[in-house]
């Protein structure tokens, strides 16, 4: 390593970028803002653009948060999208079937019950995943592949592939309303991210999750009941996921999101083999993906080009730690 004072600007940037995933992502985000500000101009910073970005981010955001938790514990959850669809359909079914015509106590009650039922379905799938993975010892990818197909099959079988729509106002508001200009869905994302971050960083449970992810055997020998932790975690994940789906219900909706959630989580510095990663990094990654997507939209470029660029960014960011001459972990 050369002396710090003789480092070129490029060298310093590389060192800064290599000093951690969060620093890399910050740098990348700033660079993107500058590039798009030059390419697009004022339109990129208009309130409209910002608001549409804030509307589009939460769904992918909450799903990615769920994927991140699974990755942190050293697993992989392929069933999050189909779980979300199944619980979304449960809510939609209850709402369209039992909602009374006039507003009143029953009107509110049915909505609360429907949402509770949706959470219950998601938690149930999480419990099944957790039980099969933690107690039977099935590898997470196989177990969740099974539950993914199962949930999707159940959803398709029950609805025959149809869309259920026509929800009462408060439910629509969750997906489409704003509070002082801020989309309510973004607030929901924050309400999910904050407890997850707190749980991971400030509770013994969070510490256990990281430990299991980095070395499950060692954690078991040091007295952590790995099975119980995995079980709780996966049920919690499924419940979080459900939030992402309040205002749409179809069995096959959003399947292409599955690999994008992995992309977002890994871009955010989550180690795909578990044990490392922060909620802050994930949120930064989501903002970066959204900025690229919105900018390309304003530039009238295809959304498929956006996909390709997302892939390129992922490789570039993953390669950064090795450019500065840091030994691979």
């Amino acid at each position: 390593m050369s002396n710090a004072s003789t480092l070129s600007l490029r060298g310093r940037l590389i060192r800064l970028a290599g000093s951690g995933p969060i620093a890399t992502l910050m740098l990348l985000l700033v660079a993107l803002w500058v590039v798009f500000a030059i390419a697009i101009g004022d339109r990129f910073f208009s309130a409209n653009t910002l608001q549409s970005m804030a509307f589009q981010m939460p769904e992918l955001g909450i799903l990615s948060l769920a994927m991140m938790l699974a990755l942190l514990s050293g697993g992989l959850n392929l069933s999050i999208i189909s779980t979300a669809n199944l619980s979304g359909l449960t809510i939609a079914f209850l709402l369209t079937r039992y909602i009374p015509g006039s507003q009143g106590v029953a009107w509110v009650g049915v909505q609360v019950l429907a949402i509770a039922a949706g959470f219950a379905v998601a938690a149930l799938v999480g419990l099944v995943n957790g039980f099969v993975i933690a107690y039977l010892g099935v590898s997470p990818i196989l177990a969740t592949l099974g539950t993914m197909t199962l949930c999707k099959g159940l959803a398709i079988g029950l609805t025959r592939g149809n869309v259920i729509s026509g929800f009462p106002e408060p439910i629509v508001f969750i997906g489409n309303g704003t509070v002082f200009g801020v989309p309510f869905a973004l607030i929901v994302l924050a309400l999910c991210a904050l407890p997850v971050a707190l749980m991971l960083n400030a509770t013994p449970f969070g510490a256990k999750v990281y430990m299991i992810g980095s070395n499950e055997k060692a954690s078991r020998y040091s007295g952590v009941d790995t099975r119980a932790v995995l079980l709780k975690l996966l049920a919690g994940v499924a419940a979080v996921v459900m939030l992402a789906r309040f205002n749409s219900a179809n069995a096959a909706y959003g399947e292409s999101y599955l690999l994008v959630t992995i992309l977002a989580a890994v871009l955010g510095g989550v180690d795909p083999f578990g044990g490392f990663g922060k909620v802050g990094g994930l949120l930064l990654a989501l903002i970066i993906l959204q900025v690229i997507s919105s900018a390309f939209n304003l530039l009238n470029l295809s959304q498929f080009l956006t996909l390709a660029i997302w892939g390129g960014i992922l490789i570039a960011v993953a390669a950064v730690p090795h450019l500065g001459g840091k030994a691979p972990r």
Partner: protein
Amino acid sequence: MPESRFSPFGRFGRSHEFWLLTVILALCASLGVANAQFLTMQNLFDLLTSYAFVGILALGLLVVLIAGGIDISFTATASVAQYVTLSVANAYGANWISVFAFAIGIGGALGALNAIFIQKLRIPSIIVSVATLNIFYGLLIFFTGGKYIYSLPDWFATGVFWFEFEWGKDTSYGVNLQILALAVSFLVTWLLLNRTNIGRQIYAMGGNADAAQRLGFHIFGLNMLVYCYMGVMAGIASLVQAQLAQSVAPTVLVGKELDVVAAVVLGGASLMGGVGTVFGTFLGLALLAILQNGIILLGVSSYWSPFFVGLVILISVSATAWSQRERRTRGARA
């Protein structure tokens, strides 16, 4: 080799493949009783034809998994190879040899790109292949606009029909392009893994990459070979699929990655590397194919078929894990 005297089938009786084979035979027997259509030559040929695409990809993925990596970009690789090859064939004319050479070349090149990213930039293969899936697919749709190709060269649309033979009264069967390609892929992959020095090196590298490197294995070369092999398989599979579908649809292949992963992993290959067999992959593929086929033949509504497939996957992986766990604890006590 220490063989158990008490197990009727020796080592095989305790293997993952034995359990799978038992499940498959039981399924076949019950389906055969329930529906006379199931155990017919017609159904067998139909099954082989329709599962050739997934099967060929599964063989490529098997080699990658044994080498200790993973690749999920192969559906995008196949889409690119299919689109470019058949566009060129439409524009400039071609024959069987040249379309296959072209598709294999494109697949191999994209596989090599994966290997370079993984080895030279030292990025885990799961990250690289998630990224390249999006890159290949995104660029393909960006440049082609996602347009389907419906007009294929006549000789390609006709396909091949070899070794025709009569069975029963007035039905004739033959080996079509799909079955031929599937059989050749199985043979070549089996030879590569079991009868060559390189195959042993791939197992060794997947089992312990550090040890393999210290033994003097050419790790970069081996990885290059493995990911190129996956790409080549994707190229072959893409033509097989286009011939069956009689069209090129750039958007339909991406999203089928997990079917292929399911077949290989059900067949006993480990995501940790070093473990997996061609026979196991065949059984994993057979289980999925028979399940889906059987559910339709039993008259279950096609809306419900994914549900039962999911249920059987979940039950069979749980049962396998449970039986292995029992054995582990028994072994520990002994």
